[in-house]
Amino acid sequence: MVSSSQDIRKAIEAKWNEYLSKYGNLFSSDSLSGTSPPSVFVGSYNYPKVNVGPMVPPIHGDTSLLDTPEKWIGKTLEEIVNYRLNLVRGIQKVPVSDPSGRYIENLQELAMSETATDSDIRFYKATSPVGLLDGYSAPFGPIGEIKSVKFSSSPSQRQIEKVYYDRDLLASDAVLKLYNSGIEISQIQKCFSIGMMGKKRKLVPTRWSITATDDIISKSLIDETLDYPLIDGVRVFHFEHMGNLFSVILFPYRWLYEMIEAWYSKGVLGFGSDHEDARGIDHPPEIAGAYFAAKLAVGEYLVRNQIQSGALVLREIRPEYAIPIGVWQIREGVREAMKQKPVLADSFGNALDVAAKPMSISTKEWLSHGFILKLMRQKRISDFF
């Protein structure tokens, strides 16, 4: 029997409170000294004048793990929530249209830093920990308004520096350039959000910047696959972590993509889905950032294998996923799924059975909340060459 999300939240909260009572003085102070992973955060509240600042834990050393989701596969929900809660978020209000001045430049340097960076912050008043919040937004450590901040100098990523000083490069091209040179998506996203790319630069709230970078990169990956031959059979991939179950079916078809999500809310199943063909998607997906995060992971697999295919991604969210921790876990979860050895199915129907088997939702239920079968009825002109 799995414990309910209530129980899990309570357990995490209890441990966190215990931690705070032991080390609370590290957090409730009007100054903070620690090593930023590096990390910057741009809020969306009060847009277009938003809260911007560094995230710094009250510890020194190599803290990079705290804000590099690419390294979090295999960790428990509790460990990851703790990483987040350790990060104290310093803020100053800045208009998004004006990413300039000393404060922002410092943050930009921090964002492109190659290594974790020592930081000293003075706040107007003591920071205080916020609770575990409502369960919708990703958890945070304490927040404090910054009076002054000093970062020690650390070497910048060369590729990011180049993009930063290139004022003629479109933001989307900058994202692709960094991605193709091997920079982690989490770092690209931070640089994107703190206004370091494009011709007309502005701050982009962190949650929007995550979707934007995933969208830009996944679109480019899929465009590349359109020239590759079709996959030669039907493959099913599966992975689960932290109460999130992912199944991916690849089938021989011109690019066609659907993601269907299902979650339990007060004992009732909720569904959401969206889809596209090679023309792309022309509206914000119903399932928001999850759509692009999974598409990116599938796109990476197709490009790596130089094939083209249709893709159906199913995501079941179990009650154990007590605290949403961000879209990164979908990207990394599907990336991990695509690294598993696939089950080879002899038909799409058979693949659906394999995909739904580890889940608590039947193939019939999945299909009734998506469009994939309807979409597959449309033939291609190239079928008649």
């Binding site: 690019w255 023309r279 009825r377 449309q378 002109i381 190239s382 008649f384």
Partner: protein, 250 residues
Amino acid sequence: MSLVFSAITSGSDDLKAIISAISTLVEEATFVASAEGITFRGMDPSHVALIDISWPNSAFEKYECDSDIKFGVRIDEFSKLIKRAEKKDSIELGISDDNMLLVTIGKNKKYKIRLIESSASDTPLPKIPYDAKIELSSTAFDKILGDVQVVSDYLTMIATESKAEFSGKGDSGEVVIELQKGTDDVQDLSVKQESTGTYSLEYLNPVVKAVGTTTGSIICEYSSAKPLRIEFKVGNIGRIHFYLAPRVES
């Protein structure tokens, strides 16, 4: 300035119709100009529809092309210029030595636009024998599409020796429109074998609207569960072939 190729249209309607038809499928288009005339062939990114255009030299007021040349344009950029032409304005197309597309509208409007790198892949045409052929005015066809769209996203065509039937079915209801052979509605109906095909209005509507009244009548040819080919006449001898893959039952 020496031109690699030069063509002058009489009036602007034909070019407008062609560009507008292409714009329903792709963002970038590669044209081929040869001594015989100008051609274009391309599929939409999802490979559901294909446009094949043939615009022979004799359709132009003046046409010169010494050697085959491919040129690629961004359709939205090209389209914006062409729309600046009045109905009667002739349009001269040329390519300069420095690889710019020269577009002269009427007597004195001279535009120059950047060419883009042309994608080289050769698209074949679907090989299908057509069992049914329906000819009707483009206005009548446009109306039928509108009538069906009220209830459905797809158009089903059934052609028999005596009549053509257009129908659609959706969540809210269904519609049937019957055209009898030998009436004014149908200019021609020839059927080798009774044929049924279903096609997406998402693709049909825009192209029929794009070509509009430039073409007098259109010819629909298809076979059961096979692609549909619509021929739009452009000018006297040019034509647009629009191919659309069918929807089939699972």
